[in-house]
Symmetry: C2
Subunit: 476 residues, 2 copies
């Protein structure tokens, strides 16, 4: 593919639908947080769409898709652009389908909310609060991330300590997606079929409506606990996670010296060198949590939002903006040499495994764990901070993690497979054949489509030819 898209003809086909082709503005809307990764930062630096279209209705989305189909122009759907795997970046140009103005909350019932795709997660929570409900989970980018962007590009986050991940049955209830065909069809996905489109980066249909489950809304209390050692913090967090009667929404461990060094607006609360546990707990869980915590002599309460003076809360970001991928963001802002990994540790290894890993890379890696439920059990997701030197060294560190038995969800790759299970997802591939026969939706992100013979076991990066062709075309 190259830059030879007939954008003028496209704009004429879509008529009055809002569009923008100012290159600077288009480029701005063509990025996400890919620059968390020094590798993606280099590889995707020149990525830009040709035009941004911002539909307001599903009918307008269908018009855009039909036009793109007719002219064979790639279409990459985007919500808030808060991904960090380049999920919403149009590798080979074309149309950036900006869904941010389709942001209505359509219905709220007991246990369920229906939204348009571009509804911001924080706004959904505001809308559902009146019914005493809120979304089960959100990423740390809640304020600017959209519900469909989360479903298509995320995997879990704040709330996963209770509910598991987005891929689990029950954590997404229904998706409505449009196909990219001459006459786009609307498909309703529920139950098993949700696996076709959840976490598919918009490669196999454009989400135009989302139904999500709701949980009870609480005025979650923010806690920061300090520990002298990462190990003790991790042990405490695991034990607290396993307390079934203490309702939590977030449980994060960040090793010293990161908290004091990187959590700038909280740093006066956190003594230098301390490892911390960050927690969100329901108000009625606070007293039990304090009683439980007394069993841990080395745990020290550093912050409790329910007991802080109003002026002490002023200027503090929500605590979940210190967690998940925001931990990396905070670190990066202070030290641009920091990058990160995404790790799942083996179930039987536990804390000893994590300790061994961090000892091995003590000079390059700082621990960051998120407690989650996974297949009915409490587990650690790792998002360690890594001091970047070279791409080779970064790959070595990841390979070593894998050799020791951990699983890496490589955040330095832009494809579904390399950032995920490192194998073809036959369900998503089959669905792409059905929804996007010409391969125009978010090209370059699904290896199984682009290169069915790709050998995942060879540990070589997939290079999307369309990205290279595009880069050459843009240069020329």
């Amino acid at each position: 593919m190259s830059r030879a898209y007939d954008i003028a003809a496209f704009l004429s086909l879509i008529g009055s639908i809002k569009s923008e082709d100012n290159p600077a503005l288009v480029k701005q809307k063509s990025r996400d947080f890919y620059w968390y990764s020094p590798v993606l930062k280099r590889e995707l630096a020149s990525v830009t769409a040709d035009v941004v279209v911002t539909p307001k209705t599903e009918v307008e989305v269908a018009t855009v898709l039909a036009a793109a189909h007719e002219l064979k122009i790639p279409v990459t759907a985007r919500g808030g652009g808060t991904g960090n795997y380049g999920q919403a970046m149009p590798l080979t140009g074309g149309v950036l389908l900006n869904l941010i103005e389709m942001n209505k909350v359509l219905s709220i019932r007991s246990g369920r909310v229906v939204c348009e795709p571009g509804a911001l997660l924080g706004e959904v929570d505001k809308a559902t609060a009146a019914s005493g409900q809120e979304l089960r989970m959100f990423p740390s980018t809640r304020a600017t991330a959209t519900v469909a962007g989360f479903v298509a590009g995320g995997s879990g986050g704040v709330g996963s300590i209770t509910w598991g991940g987005l891929r689990d049955f029950g954590n997404v209830l229904r998706l409505r997606v449009l196909t990219l065909e001459a006459e786009p069809r609307a498909l309703e996905l529920t139950g098993e079929d949700l696996h076709k489109a959840v976490h598919a980066y918009g490669t196999n249909g454009v989400i135009t409506e989302v139904e999500m489950p709701l949980a009870p809304q609480y005025d979650w209390i923010e806690l920061i606990l300090g520990f002298d050692k990462f190990e003790a913090a991790s042990a405490y967090a695991l034990a607290l996670a396993e307390q079934d009667g203490i309702l939590k929404k977030l449980l994060t461990v960040v090793a010293g010296p990161a908290p004091h060094a990187y959590f700038l607006r909280h740093r006066s609360l956190i003594p230098s060198g301390k490892s911390v546990v960050l927690a969100l707990v329901a108000p009625h869980a606070l007293d039990p949590l304090e009683a439980f915590t007394r069993h841990f002599k080395d745990a020290q309460f550093l912050f409790n939002s329910s007991r802080a003076a109003p002026e002490a809360l002023q200027g503090l970001p929500p605590i979940y903006e210190l967690a998940w991928n925001h931990t990396t963001l905070r670190a990066l802002r202070v030290d641009p040499a920091i990058t990160y990994l995404q790790v799942r540790y083996p179930e039987d290894g536990g804390l000893a495994f994590i300790k061994r890993l961090h000892e091995k890379f003590a000079s390059e890696m700082v621990g960051h764990l998120e407690l989650i439920r996974f297949n009915g059990r409490i587990g650690f997701a790792g998002l360690p901070l890594v001091r970047f030197t070279t791409e080779e060294r970064l790959n070595e560190i990841m390979a070593e993690h894998e050799d020791m038995g951990a699983m890496i969800f490589n955040p330095h790759r832009y494809t579904l497979e390399e950032g995920g299970m490192k194998q073809t997802d036959a369900t998503q591939l089959a669905f792409k054949r059905e929804t996007d026969p010409d391969g125009l939706l978010n090209p370059g992100k699904m290896i199984a489509w682009e290169d069915p013979d790709f050998d995942f076991s060879a540990r070589k990066n997939f290079l999307f030819p369309g990205l290279e062709a595009r880069a050459l075309a843009v240069q020329s």
Copy 2:
């Protein structure tokens, strides 16, 4: 102790507080479901109080306790009398403190309800429903059990699949208890201190107020799934339990032929010989559950309350009245030779262990499992139905369970320790010294108090001398 209590003096001291000394009525209020056990049925047959008092306020309770203290009369507190370990039976007579008329719901807030001790669990749920909330858990005797009776005599039940047990931090928020002294004091217990009085059978204080956490209220859907084999039903239930995104309140496995044979009002729904899984799921979890269930070829939906015709629902008891101890009750009603065990299986044994056990006792035991959360993990609680022949054989079966590595919470014993962890609970014992220096509260139930030198390892039953003395006195 013997029958030499000065009841006339007691009645004079308590003045106008409601009391009843008609022996037939007193005897009726002196029993619970102890007769589930053929052993307790024999041992406790003659147990009766001398008088029942039914206070309406905490001040009246204090008056009763002061009077009992002055006259050294035992006091046994009782709620709905739905226990099945003889928890509320006055082994050595005296005052039966009937708390059923102290039943007000005092306050309902987000996540919390405060009640008087005798509030029925079902009534608490009705009161909290308007706020979209309900209790986290209840026993299968919800309709007639009281909140303080549950806290003092229960351990968990419907809801434990999500929240764990009553002893877990956070599942009881606050208790107010009166001491049995010359001037009864009111003690407020929260946090760690709750362990002093939760599941202490009322041996160390009389609960006069309870604060419990609330969960969101849903119109839970009742499901019955049929399987040809107990093993397949158990495997399905375990896998479903581990689905973090599918919100459940109950998950029970009952082996064939019990469901068709004993669930009389449901029997037309359940083919003969089938093993079943009983489930309560949130309405928004039904579609995900159905999708999940399609992965289990041998699972067959037999009943779904949300799709049943209104006339089909008529006359059916709630499904939780087929689960937990109600399973035993249903069996007993059909076959009086049935009794049961309460088992915790070793964590690492899993389904293979349970299978081995049931194969070993195939001619005497029918499987009944309740899925629960325990220390952050999904586990099975076992309440197998056992065909009773002799007490010796029953003891043999239990000993064999223990020898194989299971833990027995012996429902054929009336003491805290023998029905529980088979060791002294130092916290509860210390609290009894503080609240009941004369040992008048529910005598005979705490071995650590009655016989500090009792050897639990000897596998011999504790025999409470007061029970024997009382039996002789009553005979004479």
